[in-house]
Symmetry: D4
Subunit: 229 residues, 8 copies
């Protein structure tokens, strides 16, 4: 039977993230490359990719980062990645486009000792897709975070999504990554997770603000302005 089943390498187990057995790879999220992103506003990508780093920190999973020739027009890695995941390990490459072609990178992945990989990268069809396919071939269970990756057209994003499911990679969005790692609101750091979700669906920030004010009005017995004399 093919090594590239659907979804690959799960052998019939439910294709979900196991927080205890997963590492995160954040690849080539660079200021120059972000200018080429057209499948979503780059501000959305920047927010989502940065939130992924935050989530990794909250759930204490390993993070590996890398960049494609950051000394050239591709530009530097956006600083939020390492700010939000201070424990992340940066691997410099030697020009290889597919990070998986770099032995140091593959070794760093092995060093984590994890069986599952959450991968995001810019541009999607290259920096995210190539390592994802290679990791599947190497026996990993791979989750490709399509919306924390950016590419040059909506069409390119759709093509890559199709290629990923065909190759046995599990497509996933940032919200699902967060929730599969968090699992429950019944935990001490719930407020930090709530804050993280404002990076995924920003309306949540408005909800929190309105909720707090509504309760404050009751607690403080505030009079509505429209009832003032």
């Amino acid at each position: 039977m093919s090594q590239l089943a659907i979804p690959a390498n799960f052998n019939g187990a439910a294709p979900v993230i196991d927080p205890a057995n997963v590492a995160m790879l954040l690849i080539d999220h660079q200021s120059g490359l972000f200018q080429t992103v057209q499948d979503m506003p780059f501000t959305t990508l920047r927010r989502l990719a940065s939130t992924l780093a935050t989530i990794a920190t909250l759930s204490k999973i390993p993070v590996i980062t890398t960049a494609s020739v950051p000394q050239g027009p591709n530009g530097p890695l956006i600083p939020e990645i390492h700010q939000n995941a201070p424990h992340a390990r940066y691997i410099a490459r030697k020009g290889e486009i597919n990070a998986w072609d770099n032995p140091d990178f593959v070794q760093a992945v092995k060093d984590t000792g994890k069986k599952q990989l959450i991968i995001a990268g810019t541009i999607t069809s290259v920096c995210m897709a190539f390592p994802s396919i290679a990791a599947v071939a190497a026996g990993y269970q791979v989750f490709a975070v399509i919306d924390a990756s950016g590419t040059y057209s909506k069409m390119a994003q759709e093509i890559t999504l199709a290629r990923m499911i065909q190759a046995g990679v599990v497509p996933i969005d940032v919200a699902a990554v967060a929730s599969e790692l968090q699992k429950t609101w019944n935990r001490d750091d719930a407020a930090q997770w709530a804050q993280a979700y404002t990076g995924i669906f920003p309306n949540y920030q408005l909800l929190i603000e309105s909720y707090a004010k509504a309760q404050e009005v009751v607690r403080n017995q505030e009079v509505l302005d429209s009832q003032r004399k």
Copy 2:
């Protein structure tokens, strides 16, 4: 062979709804979460999710509802769900994000004695997708109602749709759910079903109004205004 065939757990039978053997799960359709929905106008989602409840009532299938911490910013369940499906059973959770992680919820599903599940939830990639994948793993035939579920971006919806078909979940829209349950117009409650479809494609309401008036003009021998002197 994998437990996660395509579509899962049908074993070669046609992947269609069996009205006699199906239950409906409506998960986390809450006022706060609806503010985060961006893959369709939330009014469309509210209309479609509410109509799903109506359809369940018309076809006399069990409904289970639940909410994610409705005392917090996620807000209360929208009232139409239980108004339209008064027989629905509400299961409170203890903070678990995946409703299937709550034993009471799983037991309630088992109590229905059904083999098929129609699942809708907000947000799609979490509240609908997690129980769907878990239910497939538990041996159920699962129909995921993508357009009675809402999420934070069109892209997130597309990613989740791909993940669902990869996992053996059958994707379905509200119209198909209604018609697979109704099966024929040759039944006594046909008018109630026609009314239900106005909740799915609202132009149908205009059709009904225009149709009634056109026939009334003949029956009452009304003169056209433009032929009045």
Copy 3:
């Protein structure tokens, strides 16, 4: 000086609605014509036009309605108009496309004794625009509610908006009509007005629901599900 100043017939006064001196004309909002509307979902139009009727009732201003050959393919007037404005006066025409060409209609407008007219109609460039231009020529101050009127393309809507401002008609949206008539939240019927706004921006309904629940949690000292044992 031209009779068609910008805005027309205000003679330098601020071009705003005077609640004490205004009538509302709701023209040709018919089930058949609604099928031709493409500048917004017809459900939006139906909601906004119906809300306009509600607002007229709340602010106690006269309403005149009419329809274009409702016995033909144009179809019947949508029932919400008269349901929401039971005091509205319906004027049957004799085939005239421009309602202002019908003497009964013009007389009904005169009978209100008002100097300002709020006009909405479907389709926008005809049923709303023709009476608006005619009313300006007759000396009225006219407010054209573009988004409670519907037409066959976004382009047609834009063309008509341009024609209206060129002709001295004041373009206005439903929210502005409501707020210029309401003027303040410091009034006894504030809750009814809040309800009316849910017909203009439906997210307001979610806000009200979430607000009520958030305060209820404090008042009832509810425990969050995620804090239950």
Copy 4:
């Protein structure tokens, strides 16, 4: 006072079409140029421009056509124009881009003896706009049919609409042209006008078909299929 008032040359009269005093100019609707149209599907443009010709015939107003070097890449005039308006007069130019720069064309306009002009042309900002501005300067009341004209971008269309109102040209859509010429449904050729509107908002064709069938069912006492045994 400026010759270029808003709207120009009406001198305070209501800026509406006078069926007895208007001619129509259809300029450069050519197969090659239609390939460059991007502000609407060219099929929409073709349908609307052709319907304009039909309307002119129904209302018995003069039509003048012309083309820009139809022997070159611009291609031939679309045949529907003259098919629908057999009485139209074609004026060949000598390469002038602005039809008004061609003396034969200006003379043909004068020959109609009309004071008002309805103008459509492709591309909008050139073939329609230049003669419109020139005709205003020559003292005509001009109605520019923006959506029976086509251009290379939505932005170009919006720019031209703004330029037109600034120049005193009255912007108008095809529906308004039709209705200002028809004026009433209380006329013998009402059915032909109804047919013409299907060229403006094609849903009207569906309305007519459904209306006829609904009445036929009553008249013929047809049994619904769903009530057959």
Copy 5:
């Protein structure tokens, strides 16, 4: 092995249309239902569905049509279907939503003696999808013409496309149907096929018009207007 392979019932043969062994099913293309179509302009749907009928006639394949309660608000079948495929056989149903639930319909399909079915229907997720899934279960090779079918939202169309490929149905567009049936331009009726393609991508009509004129200019040695004195 599952009967519902991908693509189903081809047993490893290339999943392409065999012109000698295929029939076409055109289901529920009705005037009322067309008003509910929102995944494309209904004019596009009407053009594409009608062209499918033309193509069936050109390639001499059997056509079966049916309608869902055409005496009610769903309205009558659009006339072009039978006009373009005069050899089509109409099967009346008794209210069954899934045409395949009607024994007369299934028998009519069997009567064709074909192994492959090209299916289009409105609305897509019901009228097209249900018979497609049923036909696959009955052993047919099924081609679902998604863009000659219409439904109530883009999302509903995408969900149905995913459900189809999961169920082993081959998704196809009208152009591919035409070209797999035509196979070569080296045939006597090439001009009729060229005309048929103008119903699929209407720009082709402009190409034909411009091409003919360009060659005529050479043949007739016409002088360009811009070179006239």
Copy 6:
């Protein structure tokens, strides 16, 4: 002559901002109301409105804020406004929808001693438009910042833009406000202004990051990764 000239109250002077004679009014930018905004992502609105406050601080112009019943569902003022403009003066109202109907608010404006007003508010057609029209009537030169105001539909925004220019209000975007106040890059606080523009067009942040890195590579004589051995 009308008090409502175009643009109003400039008396022939160029309609531009005079940094020495202008105040800024930021009205009703509240968490609840932001949920109703649909003419742009609310995140864009939040960023632009907050940047407006920053700009006011950089250019040392007075700012007045107010909110509409912040104790109710409209929610609290977003905190960034006062964070970015610590010198802003908050005026509580008594339920008046039009801030200009509140005497304290009008007095606060007068207290600034400025002749020009930059106004932004949510929702656009009410909270921004009503005070703008009132201020024009009171003799002020008014600049309405349409894209630092938010409303419930794109159509509502377009209608309001048209109403504003008709009323003599000068429409302006945030970038133009910034640049008319800044006037030149040849000033000591240029870097702070550059940072402010990243709040208007966020790609500017990427430009700054890439620019700094590109120059650093030269200064530090860094080797490109792709040239490493």
Copy 7:
């Protein structure tokens, strides 16, 4: 009477370009700023702005260029401007945002001796709008080429278009600029103009290619491939 009439400074003359009395100003079309453009693809802007330079050369009108701090993140002027208009005069500024604030720039404009100005600039609401308003105040007739200017949002573009017409600036698109300068196809350099239009509506290039081939087939008596044995 106001100096800012509509359109300004034409004194009743038709608001059209006079090729003998016009200069072109191309302002701040820089590589960095182009990354911020969101109201059209920057490739479209680059093509249109470059074509404007070509047109100026073909029509032999003066061109003045300038850039905003090209040594910083705004980046260098795109090279096509001076390549296509080798006669253009570049004016360096000293940090002034409004080019008209730089005395050298104003002097360069005066030096042309022209009364009309065609102005394009990035970003639209600043680099194009400020000099346009200033030039109107200085007595020039100004044509603002909105689609050869780029800005950070569609909304910003619409706001600026409205501000321009309010200020008496004539809005215009690139096609209209070209055609008002060219005036006729009956000139020796017609082929060069045809080529220029491929920069405005690129489909024109396809038309030229297809036209040439179609005529070549006749001239060379080529056999169609589909008629080969």
Copy 8:
């Protein structure tokens, strides 16, 4: 087991391009057909298809081209294909729509001796899809470049993408093709590859221009204009 596995003919190997064992087929990229393309701007398609030819040249892989009756309305092959890939071999057909039905074409493919094929064609569902399916059936590993192919609607593109993955064809975008062939930036022709990417995501050209200028400023110690006296 089926010959049409997912992805087909890889037998468990990672579904990636092997630069040493691949040929490129560029099919029917013709000026007339390009006028029918609606799933992206044809300029994008033209740029991407031309870049594919460049990439083939840079990576020294064989290219085969063909056209569908270029003597008719389909028009000539766009010249860039052979300009960018001078080593490409053109195969004339005899009217066959599926290039794979032409024996000369199949032989030319065989002559390359490659096992993998990169295929692009216009229109997508026919000219690209038919040879792709046929090549899979003939045992090739096929990569379908969806975004270097064009078709008549976005829906048609989505349908074809689904059909391709169902048939075992690997969907890919132009960026992924380039990067899988290039593999590393650590090569002598890196600058040529960088240039090629400007044909895929044109913002990359702006990045290169800005990067060069930023470094030049440091190297030449240029003073910023804004710091000049």
